[in-house]
């Protein structure tokens, strides 16, 4: 019986994994802290059972993500995603399942938010930052179930990245709305949808990716859609370290949430690690 999950995952991984071998930047073949030691790129490592983590840090957030699964860590794998989130607004935890393959990924799970200061919101047509910071209801603590399908496909001198996601927000008391801290929209529960498309050009032997992104998030029961647009930049510093910038402010929205209306200005690094083969 104990071999059954392994056999299932091996079979699943074998069925899903394509042996596509995209070009690997030279910097991705180095360790950041010991550049003389060869780093086997994640997509070329052997499939195995592994534990791994991805650590996003910037001003001012920490987002570690733990992965437990089978396959090639951070590349093509199947398993469990655990994602604690620490910000100055509150703490959250996400747990879910993920299937990641060379050109697509699918994840589904639940995220619980415990905010430090924010309360649930009294329903109104639109919201300002002052509105979402008024403490007029019970403390905002909620659970969001979420599924996301993403794809990244080579196209011309770069690649297209696309994501669609559906979220189901729960544990909001009747008669209240909630500011969903991760999606950055005011929600009349339960449904929220989100779609994002980006095109990233590649420079410097594929170590620099840079391009525009457009994102829409809709709340059907409020009859509102938030449109965001901006840019993404990623620089492969080494196989295990990446610098990232996300600049996606809201550009068309009923609400006036300023930088809280999107990932308006996030700059940070992402460090990746996994247990050895």
């Amino acid at each position: 019986m104990t071999l059954l999950p392994t056999a299932t995952l091996v079979l699943l991984h074998g069925l899903l994994a394509s042996e596509a071998a995209p070009e690997i930047p030279a910097t991705a073949q180095k360790h950041w802290l010991s550049p003389d030691r060869a780093f086997v790129p994640w997509s070329r490592q052997p499939a195995r059972w592994f534990g791994a983590f991805e650590f996003d840090a910037g001003f001012l957030y920490l987002r570690p993500r733990f992965e437990l699964g089978y396959g090639k860590p951070h590349s093509s794998w199947v398993g469990l995603d655990l994602n604690p989130i620490f910000t100055d607004e509150g703490v959250a935890g996400y747990a879910g399942l993920r299937i990641a393959q060379p050109y697509w990924h699918l994840r589904a799970g639940g995220r619980a938010w415990y905010t430090f200061y924010r309360s649930f919101l009294v329903p109104q047509y639109s919201y300002s930052v002052e509105d979402i910071e008024r403490q007029v209801g019970p403390r905002s603590r909620f659970l969001t179930w979420e599924a996301e399908l993403g794809a990244d496909l080579p196209l011309g001198p770069g690649e297209v990245e696309a994501e669609v996601a559906g979220s189901y927000v729960t544990r909001v008391p009747d008669g209240f709305y909630v500011y969903e801290e991760t999606l950055r929209v005011v929600v009349n529960p339960p449904w929220v949808w989100r779609a994002r498309v980006a095109y990233l050009w590649e420079y410097f032997a594929h170590t620099l990716q840079l391009g525009p992104v457009v994102e829409a998030a809709g709340v059907p029961r409020r009859g509102t859609v938030v449109l965001r647009a901006g840019g993404l930049v990623r620089i492969t510093l080494s196989g295990d370290l990446e610098a990232r910038g996300t600049f996606i402010p809201p550009v068309a929205t009923r609400d006036a949430l300023g930088t809280r209306g999107g990932d308006a200005f996030l700059v940070g690094i992402r460090y990746r690690w996994a247990t050895a083969p």
Partner: protein, 320 residues
């Protein structure tokens, strides 16, 4: 700076930097295994590497910051301005809640740019563009230490001084209704009901922005990350410009008095200059060109008084 203009401006700056970098570098053909980038820069062996004590200092700084957010606040608070605080508030404070909110977003973006800039230069410019990760790592650690120590000191001082932010006088419930100003804040808004209302002295945004600018100026003073000469000097001017704009917006948005941001800027600048110099750079020489040490390691900080009928202040000039 509006919250929408700031990302666009920053993206334009980033594209300019990248364009300038790519203009100097020979773009490799697809499939080539190595990049042709900037000349390497090296950590001078005479400069002590990041030491155990510095890890401890950084940890203590972060612990102090955390403690400042959870320890009980004093029951009595310092309220009101000193010296020219009230006159400066009248002159600089934006008049509508919406404009103050935009300035607050702008100050948040400003400190994000300030705090990220040293790490961009260390990891991306030194580590990636100049293929010198050893130096990049050392500079990133020093910058992190400066920010942690600065944030820890600021957090504890703010906790114990417990000065009410300027907007606090407009929180409903604090004054008889007849005396409330027209633009009062609801008592249940986070700014009024939260303990953060009493963290005015001194400004964390200003201290950390100026500390980040100062420590990165020290890195540029000793290592020609941008190639040496005017480029590195202008980077320093730009960083202090962003820090000064951030500090100004904290006053405009009515979350700090001028005295809060001046003290924050002074302490941040001093920490950012002295800590890396005392623990690292004073032991070796500057590098005037990438990879080429020179013997000159002179660094001068001149502080000048600024006096006018309505303003008094200090201006620091760093010459290297």
């Amino acid at each position: 700076m509006s919250h929408r203009a700031a990302p666009v401006l920053s993206a334009a700056l980033l594209v300019t930097v990248i364009h300038s970098a790519s203009a100097r570098a020979e773009e490799p053909k697809r499939g080539e295994s190595s990049r042709v980038m900037g000349a390497p820069v090296h950590w001078d062996p005479a400069w002590p590497e990041f030491q155990t004590g510095e890890w401890i200092a950084s940890g203590v700084g972060l612990a102090a910051l955390l403690a400042s957010r959870v320890l009980p606040q004093p029951s009595a608070h310092w309220q009101g301005g000193i010296g020219f605080d009230e006159a400066a508030r009248d002159a600089l404070r934006l008049h509508t809640p919406a404009s103050r909110r935009r300035a607050r977003d702008g100050s948040d973006i400003g400190i994000t740019i300030s705090a990220s800039w040293p790490f961009f230069d260390a990891l991306v410019v030194a580590g990636w563009y100049r293929d010198s990760p050893e130096l990049g790592t050392q500079q990133a650690l020093i910058s992190a230490e400066v920010l942690a120590v600065t944030a820890g000191m600021q957090g504890l001082v703010s906790l114990f001084v417990s000065r009410e932010r300027p907007y606090g006088r407009e929180c409903a419930g604090e004054l008889p209704e007849a005396q409330l100003p027209a633009a009062q804040l609801p008592a249940d808004t986070r700014d009024c009901s939260n303990r953060d209302r009493y963290y005015s002295f001194y400004s964390g945004h200003s201290a950390n922005s100026f500390a980040a600018a100062a420590v990165n100026c020290m890195h540029h003073a000793y290592v020609p990350l941008y190639g040496g000469g005017a480029a590195d000097n202008w980077a320093c001017v730009g960083m202090f410009g962003v820090a000064a704009t951030t500090a100004l917006m904290r006053v405009a948005t009515d979350v700090h008095y001028v005295s809060d941001v001046l003290v924050g800027a002074t302490i941040g600048t001093a920490t950012g200059l002295l800590l890396p110099w005392a623990l690292h750079y004073r032991y070796g020489a500057t590098q005037s060109r990438a990879g080429q040490p020179s013997s000159s390691s002179e660094l001068h900080l001149t502080v000048l008084p600024l006096l006018s009928p309505s303003w008094n202040g200090l201006m620091g000039v760093l010459v290297f």
